[in-house]
């Protein structure tokens, strides 16, 4: 059993390091948001909720947050069908020029975000739709679409052609085969992908910066822009509220669909 112990040791060494790396700045910022002082420090300089009071007063932040939620929802709603269909098509079928198509579909990652932002600003500007929220949602969807597609293809090895053939043998027509066999098989990928899409859209700022105006500004852009001379603890407090909201959504999602089962190996 020493084998499995050494395996655990190796595994946990890496995971602990990764956890530390992921969480250290978050923990510091979380802690700092409760400071009674005027600067972000850790450990916090006395305990108070004054920075939460400060952001509760700011209605522009609240409005910006609501806009971010709308943008993220639009992004996810568009990404789910588009990315799922594309992912299944790539994983399941023999497609001509598959590599070229994949390179094409990876353009959102190979184009630097500034280039995407400028390009989309010109395209949406020509179409006369700048200033609305849905183009921002579409933009967030486009620039992160590879995540959705790859999450689906990555889980597509669950797809068993035999299973589909069996269903077909039993007389299941194509649409039923798709809905009852193909789709459930890639569902873990769809869930992971859409969660990622939602969270990324919620936090996107570089491309959004070029697509919003003062009346349609989203929260990350608002925060980025408000930093000019001093970084004050209210920014930490906003992050905490943001996290709390996200935790709530994730918990809700977990209740409804059970996040757990999608990652558990059989």
């Amino acid at each position: 059993m020493t084998g499995s112990r050494s395996k655990s040791v190796v595994l946990w060494t890496f995971v602990t390091a990764a956890l530390l790396m992921l969480s250290a700045p978050t923990v510091v910022v979380l802690g700092a948001s409760f400071t009674a002082g005027n600067i972000i420090t850790f450990p916090p300089d006395g305990l108070s909720l004054k920075w939460y009071g400060a952001i509760a007063q700011a209605s522009d932040l609240r409005q910006a947050f609501v806009r971010s939620l709308i943008v993220a929802t639009i992004c996810t709603v568009v990404a789910i069908p588009v990315g799922t269909l594309a992912g299944i098509a790539l994983a399941k079928y023999r497609v001509r020029f598959a590599r070229s198509i994949q390179i094409y579909l990876l353009l959102p990652f190979t184009i630097p975000l500034i280039g995407s932002g400028i390009g989309l600003m010109l395209v949406f500007g020509n179409a006369g739709v700048l200033g609305k929220l849905w183009p921002v949602g579409i933009a967030c969807c486009v620039i992160n679409l590879p995540f959705m597609i790859w999450a689906v293809t990555a889980s597509a090895s669950n797809l068993s052609p035999d299973l589909e053939l069996a269903a077909a043998n039993c007389g299941a027509p194509p649409l039923q085969r798709f809905l009852y066999i193909t789709l459930p098989a890639v569902l873990p990928g769809v869930i992971t992908g859409s969660l990622l899409m939602f969270i990324l859209a919620l936090n996107e700022f570089l491309v959004s910066l070029l697509l919003v105006d003062a009346r349609s500004v989203t929260l990350p852009v608002q925060i980025y822009n408000s930093i000019r001379s001093i970084i004050t603890p209210d920014l930490a407090a906003i992050s905490v509220v943001f996290i709390a909201c996200a935790a709530f959504v994730i918990a809700l999602l977990d209740r409804l669909v059970g996040l757990d089962i999608f990652l558990k190996s059989k």
């Binding site: 395209v123 995540f147 570089l206 994730i250």
Partner: protein, 314 residues
């Protein structure tokens, strides 16, 4: 009295109707076109970016006239010539390419065990904890997160204070190349784990048990069973990390102390600081070309990840 149809549940009838509709819209003789139809929406969406690229491509062929701050009417390759001949751009491009490769290797090294544990652990609580820990960093904006790092790794940060206790003088841990790479690894780790997890989920646990029962140690099982089977996930995660870190802007700007620019930072400078959109456009296009070639090379070397698997199965 009862008709046979009554035994037929509503959902079935709805399904039948949908099937007939689908068959009418898309007769089975079109079957071979189906995958292309499924790809179409994604291709159209990404087409928005291509439209943008066309505009950028047009700008890249014009030079800035600093007496009017308009782009020249005539097309010229002057911007491309500048990018290819000036040392500065070679330095920055080399730094980004090298950086993205190092970051990809390190990220995969850490992401793999993380994803593996997340997928394989019997504890549902641990799995959820690991999942949530992945998403948390996204919610702290880049600027504030960098501030967090400063508190931890700064000259008067927690790490240097701890080192001071054992007599080590404070040293600069931030604002250099390793700091940028570290920041990128931290930023990319969640993406890599999330790309790997579904692929690892697909590897049956029994396979590992079987290998173990045949006397293979975990290292060998890992080397000959888990790793080859997770190749699709590794390729996918690798592609995501390599392209995103190659084109990243924020982390080199924030953790590089201003002297560790990547290509995207040079592009930002041209578009936003010197208003030379032509040069910025040229740099963008060349970065896209380099990134796409890199993706192509990865496909050639490692196969197209999941795609290859789908093909062999068929």
């Amino acid at each position: 009295m009862r008709t046979p149809r009554a035994a037929y549940p509503v959902t079935w009838r709805v399904m039948d109707m949908l099937e007939r509709l689908a068959a009418a819209v898309w007769p089975s003789s079109f079957q071979r076109g189906l995958p292309y139809l499924m790809l179409l929406p994604a291709i159209v969406l990404v087409g928005l970016l291509v439209l943008g690229l066309v505009q950028i491509g047009d700008t890249s062929l014009r030079v800035l006239d600093t007496s009017t701050f308009l782009m020249s009417e005539d097309y010229t390759l002057a911007n491309y010539q500048r990018v290819l001949t000036e040392n500065f751009f070679a330095t920055v491009a080399g730094r980004s390419l090298m950086g993205s490769l190092i970051v990809t290797a390190i990220t995969l090294l850490f992401a793999f065990p993380y994803a593996y544990l997340m997928v394989r652990t019997p504890s549902s609580a641990l799995r959820k904890f690991l999942l949530v820990a992945l998403f948390l960093p996204f919610f702290i904006g880049q600027v504030v997160r960098a501030y967090g790092w400063l508190i931890i790794l700064g000259n008067q940060g927690m790490v240097n204070e701890a080192l001071g206790l054992v007599g080590v003088p404070p040293m600069r841990l931030l604002y250099n190349y390793p700091a940028v790479l570290f920041g990128l690894v931290q930023y990319m780790l969640p993406f890599a784990v999330l790309m790997l997890a579904p692929a690892l989920t697909a590897i049956p646990n029994e396979l590992e048990a079987a290998a173990a029962s045949l006397g293979a140690g975990w290292v060998r099982t890992f080397r000959y069973v888990v790793l080859p089977l997770s190749r699709p996930g590794l390729v996918g995660a690798g592609l995501v990390v390599v392209t995103l870190s190659l084109t990243d802007f924020a982390i080199p700007a924030i953790l590089g102390g201003g002297t560790q620019d990547f290509i995207a930072n040079a592009i930002y400078d041209q578009f936003f600081r010197t208003s030379d959109q032509g040069l910025g456009a040229t740099l963008s296009l060349m970065l896209v070309a380099v990134g796409s070639i890199l993706v192509g090379v990865v496909f050639m070397l490692f196969g197209a990840g999941t795609l290859a698997m789908g093909e062999t199965r068929k």
